[in-house]
Amino acid sequence: MADQLAIGSRRGLKPALPLLLPAYLWLTVAIFLPLSAMVFFSFMTDLPLAGKEWSFTLGNYAAFFSQSLYSTLLFASLRLGLEVTLWCVVIGYPAAYVLAKVLKGRSREAIFLLVILPFWSNGLVRIFSWAMVLREGGILDTALNAVLPFKINIDLMYSYPAVIIGLVHSYVPYMVLTCYLTLQAIDDSLIEAGRSLGASRRQVLWRVIIPLSMPGLIAGSALIFVPVVGSFMEPRILGGRTGTFYGTVIEDQFVAVFNWPLGAALSFILLAVVLIILALAAPVLRRAG
């Protein structure tokens, strides 16, 4: 019986092979090859370009541990990732709740479009628009001073809050979408059942709705946390001098200093740290959900 099943499934795979082949080819070319090239680079002393001398070394990885700057920046980036993820939860989850459970029909479509819009606009355009809003004498400063009776100086540009604002704006749609999908799947009768059992709206939210939307919150957080830790565009443009993070240092190695091996090694260290964090968080989050 087991044999037959095995044969059956093998027979099932064969016709599927031509269909799977393009996908695997694409994965090999687009992800596996460049990535292994980077792994290779990370163990080299120099780029093998223009006939330069090079040899294998562990020095690029050692650099991370010998200079405290890198680990300090890594911690700053992890903190940035955590803060941005938290803000995305705080802003994105209520928005998703309203979209999924309160709005109906036309107004839902309209709000949905507003949420998705940042996705469709170019990242640079988005960041420079924030620069115009946040700088001294910019839109926010002018508007607030026009309304308030006293003079205040709003210059958020080139500061940590500016980086947070820019990143949250870029990434909050992920949280809204993943949470919207899980909230949508929660049957309204569960909410009514909770209320009929004597729970207030708030109790139903904390005991029924939020636990049931955990998968969406976790997926959204992972989708946001990982790229934010390695982000460089927002910190550089909106953070200015204060915007030096782990991601910007990596970018420097590739674009400015031209030390690809060090950049690659730093990237893989980041990847390892992020994977460890996700692995440690997984059981805790699973229990919460």
């Binding site: 049957d187 009768s189 569960l190 009514e192 059942a193 909770g194 209320r195 009929s196 059992l197 004597g198 729970a199 207030s200 109790q203 005991r207 029924v208 636990p211 049931l212 959900g289």
Partner: protein
């Protein structure tokens, strides 16, 4: 425990009247079935009582106090939903404990109450399971335990047995009735199934297009329906239409049918008569006048359906097909095409005024 009074309640969705001036008095401790075709407003009425939705007009009182301004969670009702609505992320015991725990009861009290409720629905050993590990009937019992553990004043059930197969359904009907008697809770039970309504409830209300058609004990509705709809919706009925004579009706072909129960209709007005299939006697041969079975018609058997303990005969007569149910007493069965005489008593004939 408390009764529920629904007085002149109306609820519209746009131009559609889902409830139209409905008044029902649900007695304290009674088992009340709401019966009606799909879309007749049964769920809508239940939702008004629960407080999930609010009437446009009319008044609802629970235990004599108006609940107009009382939110769902303060109405102290228990509800069992058609899809059970168990919390999928919680164990069976946590589902049942939910109502007590949001109230802030001490842990020890919760544990004993939950165990008692689970024992009551005979699921004492399954407290640790998740809802998706239960069968349909078990889920339904968990939903019931969850609804009654908080000691609500009223239990609302929206077609709770709808998804179960026939055998399990009958088991659950008996169990539900047992539990209801044991805790003596006012119960309002929505169902599609007329047999379920007849066997389980003290009183039945029939809804149609948002209006209450008739309301009363099952025997009364079955024996004295006040409309053709009530007669045919609750049980089977043969309907004759004609002109009232004062003591019955006269059919268009001149035959008279005597009726001694039902409405009184002035002679000459349009009226109909309803006769239950099991009240009609079917015989072959010449018609003998019999004062006890004064109503007599002749016809021809067009079809017979054998159902074990009884047979249903379809008898054609003057363009109308009549239904007759005969107990299986071992007597000779009638063949299709055979001419027959149908007779029944005026006491079994209900006179109904034309709508």
């Amino acid at each position: 425990m408390a009764g529920v009074q629904v007085a002149n309640v109306s609820r519209s969705f746009g131009a559609h009247k889902a409830l139209d001036n409905v008044s029902i008095d649900f007695a304290d401790g009674g088992f009340y079935a709401l019966l009606g075709p799909s879309g007749s407003g049964k769920t809508t009425l239940l939702r008004q009582i629960a407080g999930f939705d609010f009437p446009d007009a009319g008044r609802i009182a629970i235990g004599g106090e108006s609940v107009e301004r009382v939110p769902v969670e303060k109405r102290r009702i228990g509800m069992v939903f058609q899809n059970y609505a168990l919390f999928p992320n919680m164990s069976v015991a946590d589902n049942v404990a939910f109502g007590l725990s949001v109230r802030g009861e001490p842990k020890a009290t919760i544990a004993t109450e939950v165990q008692r409720a689970l024992d009551l629905v005979q699921l004492g050993k399954l407290g640790g399971r998740k809802p998706h590990q239960l069968s349909g009937g078990q889920r339904q019992r968990v939903a019931l335990a969850r609804a009654i553990v908080t000691k609500p004043r009223v239990l609302l059930l929206d077609e709770p047995l709808g998804a179960l197969d026939k055998a399990l359904r009958v088991d659950m009907q008996i169990e539900l009735k047992r539990i209801q008697r044991e805790i003596g809770i006012t119960t309002i039970f929505v169902t599609h199934d007329q047999e379920e309504a007849l066997t389980m409830s003290d009183r039945i209300g029939i809804l149609r297009d948002g209006r209450l058609v008739q309301e009363g004990p099952p025997e009364e509705i079955y024996d004295r329906p006040q409309s053709e709809f009530a007669a045919t919706f609750l049980g089977d009925a043969n309907i004759f239409r004609g002109d009232a004579t004062g003591s019955g009706i006269k059919l268009p072909d001149g035959t008279t049918i005597a009726a001694s129960t039902g409405a009184s209709v002035p002679a000459g007005a349009k009226a109909s008569c309803a006769v239950r299939p099991e009240r009609i006697r079917i015989s072959t041969g010449a018609a003998k006048p019999d004062p006890a079975n004064a109503n007599m018609l002749t016809g021809q058997v067009s079809k017979r359906i054998f159902a074990g303990n009884n047979s249903t005969y379809f008898v054609d007569r003057d363009g109308q097909t009549l239904k007759v149910i005969v107990q299986n007493t071992g007597a000779e069965r009638l063949a299709e095409g055979q001419p027959v005489v149908l007779s029944w008593s005026p006491d079994s004939t209900v006179l109904i005024a034309a709508a």
